[in-house]
Amino acid sequence: MSTLHTWAGLLLGWVLYAMFLTGTVSYFKDELSQWMRPELPRLSQIPDQAVVAQRLADELGNIAPGTSQWSIRLPDERNNSVYAFWRTTPRNPGQRGFGEGNFDPATGQRVASRDTLGGEFFYRFHFQFHYMPVVWGRWLAGAAAMFMLVAIVSGVITHKKIFVDFFTFRWGKRQRSWLDAHNSLSVFGLPFHFMITYTGLVTLMALYMPWGEQVAFKTPAERQQLSAELSAFIQPDKPSGQKTALASVADMVRQAQERWGRDSIGRVTAVHPGDAAARVSVARGEAGRVSMSPQYMEFEGATGKLLTVRESVGAAAETRGVLYALHLGRFSDTEMRWLYFLVSFMGTAMVGTGLVMWTVKRRQKLPDPGCPYFGFRLVERLNIASIAGLSIAMTAFLWANRLLPHPFESRADWEVHAFFIVWGLTLLHAVVRPARSAWVEQLWAASALLFLLPLLNAFTTQRPLWHSLVEGDRVFAGIDMMCWALALLHAVLAIRTARQGAISQSRIKPKRQAPVVTSREAAG
């Protein structure tokens, strides 16, 4: 069981670490997106969603006439832009069949802000990675989640004493301390870690386990019924071919606001807008209910007549809806989101301490510590690049957001390229430098980049920290201060790692080298 735990944890451990950390920051993805579009003013109060919906419907009529479907996510407490996408007819095979964009809620025009993926990049990377077909990425994420599940269950069995030793931490005892830290981090968040891993698999279950569905639902009508249980998207039927303008979208949204509350509208979707057969669905937002199951009102597009109200789904679909929602945490208020963030951060540290422990345990048994075998060196270097290196790469992504010129051809892509280029460089650095120096240097680099980011923000935007504090702009002030907190964390880890190195080098027995990092580091 112990061997199973070790190898299940290690083999996809680097992937898991990256998934955990990017997933953790994704709880604040909307805030990050706001920070990464500094030209877009902050919404001090949420505009009337009905008015914004109408504005966007008009604009999409201009941008995408004749589209078979468009969908808009309305602005809310956490979003100061409106995201919209619409289907297009691909001219060439292989071309994407949709267009998308962010819009200014005040004008309905495309945002005149820098081109960026914003927090969306970390979110997408978290479950489908990048530079590979989306389906492959999702399968890889699923495999990693499966390994994680095995590691959690086998970990509870292996470290039988984790519950007895609940409050035990033995400081300065090398391997023992590492194990204690790893155990504490695991056991405190155990319900969360188990939940997040299992529900992570549930979010993509239709991809991983499609067979039941394929056997059970054969006719198009059955399939349509299935998709109605899972999402508020209406599948486009055949258009009538007869042109008819869309009735007032604002009125439809108003009816939904009366039912669910003024700011509780999530999405508005229209199929065949401008056609006599048009239909519009107004879906309830995700805040305040622990379920991703669709709740929506469906209207006849041409007349604005209410056709149906859907507020519940079958038991199986609801189970999925709840598990899905638990994973994403979008129902939560600010305090809840911070709890999610912190416990998820502990999960990241759990994976990180586990990875480092592999080397700590084996270092003592090395026949010649000066010249470890290939496998050991490989794990050691990959640990450095995937733990300290990822902190640098993620910060570099934010630096690129502020430094790349705009307008600039495929700017959003270059922000992402910058992330991967920097990450690649950290691996190169980890390979060419001695392991301990590589840890210390990379931790210092991450600390410096994080510390300087608010200063860079002050020089390159109109929204420096003092301005944000005076204005009460929580998003900008929060991110600036979070950068400093993380810079401090990385600095502490760098100092501790360097000090441990100095101590162990002064010892006579070179065999008993100190672990190179401390427990918190993984969290960085």
Binding site: W171, F192, L326, D333, V343
Partner: protein, 92 residues
């Protein structure tokens, strides 16, 4: 929504439970406590945690209540552990 009371209860609950463990009694107080005291601490700690759960569920319903409880307890346990580490370091 007031997070303060359930959080304080979780913190108190875990503190009581930590003092109910022989190893921690030895480390902090220097001697094991009476079995009755240990028992009372254990019951009090459990009650505090259940009380926190009760408040959250009553206010927010089972779904959000349970999620919040999980978050509160994780953080509270972490704080208690950090305090114990800090205490041990100060003594040394």
């Amino acid at each position: 929504m007031n997070h303060l009371l359930p959080f304080a209860l979780s913190l108190a609950g875990f503190t009581a439970l930590a003092f109910a463990v022989p190893r921690q009694q030895r480390d902090i107080i220097g001697r094991p406590l009476q079995p009755t005291t240990t028992y009372v601490l254990r019951v009090a700690g459990t009650c505090a945690l259940l009380f926190a759960l009760g408040i959250l569920v009553a206010e927010k319903g089972w779904s959000i209540g349970l999620v919040m409880f999980s978050g509160h307890t994780s953080i509270a346990a972490g704080i208690v552990l950090c305090a114990l580490i800090g205490q041990a370091r100060m003594v040394r």
